[in-house]
């Protein structure tokens, strides 16, 4: 499934005046590829991500999923077929883990929602069926993000949008979940767009990195290329701050 954005712009009216969240961004994500959008907060990376499932409607430009303009699609239908993971998990606090995971298959009306739920929970490593009856409140942060990931995968989407999925976790849990993500991608060839402010995470999980700044893409390329040869002083500074130049010297 290929994702494309062409000259996409988006302005937000804020009390301080209009803000250019996206100033003419173009990007292509190939089938099965994982592209990380990296940048500081306010760089437009989440806005761009949300254009792909129409949580944000661009002011101009075109966004398409698998060659079809998203504006032609029914937004609710579109979202049901695109997996989405939020930083804070966004689990329904009043539902059990099981019901959360089966949400999207149930929304679509798939008859095998239960089996799909079990499969998705297996993918993210929640094999103990005691999770079924537990509520999000009773889980650790890492477990909650695993559930969120399972929920995003349950309907077997071919596209997965991830908005800082592991941003709020401690370093060890974060690393565990990154490994889980890598394992999932091996079993499920899914096209991913991953928003993160962590360049290290980006190079670990993504095939390509797009560095965004002030609503535009500063540099895009294979992960190691971006880190090895920053195109601008800004990217170089990002790389330096992430402590990744050492990684380059001692691969």
């Amino acid at each position: 499934m290929m994702l494309t954005a062409r000259d996409v712009t988006k302005r937000y009216a804020t009390p301080a005046g209009a803000v250019n969240a996206l100033a003419g961004v173009s990007i292509d994500v190939a089938d099965g590829e994982c592209v990380a959008l990296v940048g500081e907060s306010g760089s437009g990376k989440t806005t761009l991500l949300r254009c792909f499932n129409r949580l944000v409607e661009p002011d101009s430009g075109a966004v398409s999923v698998d060659g079809a303009d998203v504006r032609q699609a029914n937004e609710v239908e579109l979202r049901r077929h695109i997996g989405y993971v939020l930083q804070e998990g966004g689990l329904m606090p009043h539902w059990t883990v099981r019901r959360n995971v089966e949400l999207v298959p149930w929304l679509i009306g798939l008859p095998n929602a239960g089996a799909l739920g079990t499969e998705a929970m297996g993918l993210v490593g929640l094999t103990d069926n005691s999770f079924d009856r537990r509520y999000p409140r009773q889980l650790s942060g890492g477990q909650r993000q695993r559930v969120a990931m399972a929920r995003a995968l349950a309907a077997r989407p071919t596209v997965l949008l991830l908005d800082e999925p592991f941003g709020a976790l401690d370093a060890i849990t974060r690393s565990d979940l990154q490994e889980m993500f890598i394992a999932v991608r091996k079993q499920r060839p899914v096209t991913c767009v991953l928003v993160t402010h962590d360049l290290f995470e980006a190079q670990r999980l993504a095939d390509r990195i797009a560095v965004m700044r002030a609503g535009a893409i500063e540099q895009i390329g294979a992960s190691l290329d971006v880190i090895g040869s920053p195109a601008t002083a800004y990217v170089a500074r990002l790389v330096e701050k992430a402590g990744l130049q050492r990684l380059e010297r001692h691969p």
Binding site: L55, V76, R79, R80, L86, G90, M92, P93, H94, P136
Partner: protein, 517 residues
């Protein structure tokens, strides 16, 4: 629409209205009015009429509004009140001129009939303690004006506000008191006797003036108009039942000042039941012999006994009546609350989708909340009469705000991350509302219902002022007759009921709280 809704409810609730309506006899909430009402009722019953008693209606405006729209058929009123409070006419007149004037004016303006006066006047009696009178040598209101700046006055709210009350009196005599305190009629005599105030507005036929050995100051400039008591008769009764009107007119000219004072004294000082006082009075006039024993008005006091004994009597011996009133109270509260919830929750859900309108509209329902209870009931009478319908409408109005406010806030502020995720995963707006916002807001909504319920149960005591019954009934009667035990026999169960309702709804609140929260 609200009116129609309330009507439907009332019909569903009513105990099967009889085809030929009984004659509805009412009174205002003070002892003398209760006695006259009961005498009208017993006399009519003695002649074979069916009678419905509605004693203790709010105040002049409520009783008269109820008479005008035919909710009641007859109640005792005073010519001076008709002249000043209802017609706003301050022209000085003799008693005979005053009667002729109100009789003519009321017939022309409202179609309402004044029967010939009963035979006594009950004017305002500005009263002081005997020692105050002696200390300042007070005999007249002119004397009072001289020393008023060093005296504290305790007047009923009615008197403080009326043309023929304090404002007019102050102008006529140049009165300025050191302090004017609004007092309930029920406590003004005790307040005067206890020395908390020095001057009160009594009624000249009050039994308590003699009981407390007070000095009534003469109205030497003739400020107060003549207050002749007479039966005020509705358009419908005068038109449809001349025989009933003729029966009521048999009392005209039969009750003089001395007799009325004695009757008031029996009721208010000796604590004899209003039914007994009235029956004896009719007997002494040769008009008695009711076809059946008079049952007496609800919450009739049973003798001048201690407040505690009176309270115990009402709670223990009259438990049947207590149970009936509690049931009525509960029905009033439950029905109005249920309808309010059925209206307020969907309304708030609509507001959540129209956020621009939401805050102003929520504030409007809040504004309804600030209308004083008795005023809201009074507004309602011209629209829906007295009794259970306006009570339901008023309680409905009072229950709206807490439910609308909590529902709106609860749904609007439902876990934003969960709501965001719900949209992102492809829920329709309706699904987001039904599956996410509503369940997450349920405890907040229920808390609003709970707040509304407690307010509602408390406010429902006011329903008695418009004849809707409930636990307010003994409160109204007790206030009119200065019977603390009777007041408590309504107030205590009402408070207990409010507590129980709160506890029960707290359990509901826990029950609707989604498990994972």
């Amino acid at each position: 629409m609200r009116t129609a809704l309330a009507l439907v409810l009332a019909i569903a609730l009513a105990q099967g209205a009889p085809r030929a309506r009984p004659i509805v006899v009412a009174s205002k909430p003070f002892g003398e009015s209760y006695i006259l009402c009961e005498m009208f009722a017993q006399l009519l019953e003695a002649r074979g009429f069916r009678v419905d008693r509605r004693p203790g209606l709010g105040a002049t405006e409520i009783a008269f509004a109820a008479l005008r729209n035919g909710s009641i058929d007859v109640y005792p009123e005073y010519t001076g009140t008709g002249l000043l409070a209802l017609l706003g006419d301050t022209t000085r007149r003799t008693p005979a001129q005053a009667f002729t004037h109100v009789a003519t004016e009321f017939r022309q303006r409202f179609g309402v009939t004044w029967l010939p006066p009963l035979g006594f006047e009950n004017t305002y009696a500005i009263s002081v303690r005997r020692e105050t009178a002696a200390q300042y040598s007070l005999r007249t209101l002119t004397d009072l004006a001289r020393v008023a700046p060093s005296l504290r006055a305790g007047f009923t709210a009615d008197f403080i506000g009326r043309h023929d009350g304090l404002p007019g009196l102050s102008r006529a005599y140049g009165l300025t008191f050191r302090e004017v305190r609004p007092l309930l009629a029920a406590v003004k005599y005790q307040a005067l006797a206890g020395g908390q105030v020095d001057v009160i507005d009594g009624y000249s036929t009050d039994g308590l003036i003699a009981r407390y050995d007070l000095v009534v100051l003469a109205d030497d400039r003739g400020f107060f108009p003549p207050y002749q008591a007479a039966a005020l008769v509705s358009v419908a009764l005068a038109r449809d039942d001349p025989r009933a009107v003729a029966t009521l007119a048999e009392l005209s000219g039969r009750i003089d000042g001395a007799m009325m004072r004695a009757l008031n004294r029996r009721l208010e000082v000796d604590g004899v039941a209003v039914g007994t006082v009235s029956r004896d009075a009719l007997d002494s006039l040769g008009l008695g012999r009711p076809s059946r024993a008079a049952t007496g008005a609800a919450g009739t006091p049973t003798g001048r006994i201690s407040a505690w004994n009176s309270f115990v009597h009402q709670i223990v011996d009259e438990r049947g009546a207590l149970a009936r009133r509690t049931w009525r109270h509960l029905v009033l509260s439950a029905v109005s609350l249920a309808v309010a919830a059925l209206v307020a929750i969907p309304f708030a859900l609509v507001l959540e989708r129209r956020r621009r309108l939401a805050e102003p509209l929520v504030r409007v329902t809040g504004l309804l909340q600030t209308i004083p209870g008795i005023a809201l009931l009074a507004f309602m009478i011209p629209l829906v009469g007295i009794g259970i319908v306006p009570a339901l409408v008023a309680l409905f109005v009072y229950s709206l705000y807490p439910i609308v406010r909590n529902t709106y806030s609860g749904v609007r502020d439902a876990d934003p991350v969960a709501v965001n995720a719900a949209h992102a995963l492809g829920m329709t707006p309706t699904q987001v509302l039904r599956l996410v916002r509503l369940p997450l807001a349920a405890p907040t909504i229920m808390a609003g219902v709970r707040t509304a319920a407690v307010i509602n149960v408390g406010t429902a005591t006011l329903a008695a002022f418009i004849g809707a019954g409930g636990l307010g009934e003994p409160i109204v009667t007790g206030l009119a007759l200065s019977d603390t035990g009777l007041i408590l026999s309504g107030a205590v169960p009402a408070a207990v009921l409010a507590l129980l309702v709160d506890v029960a709804l707290a359990a509901c609140e826990r029950a609707v709280r989604p498990k994972g929260l």
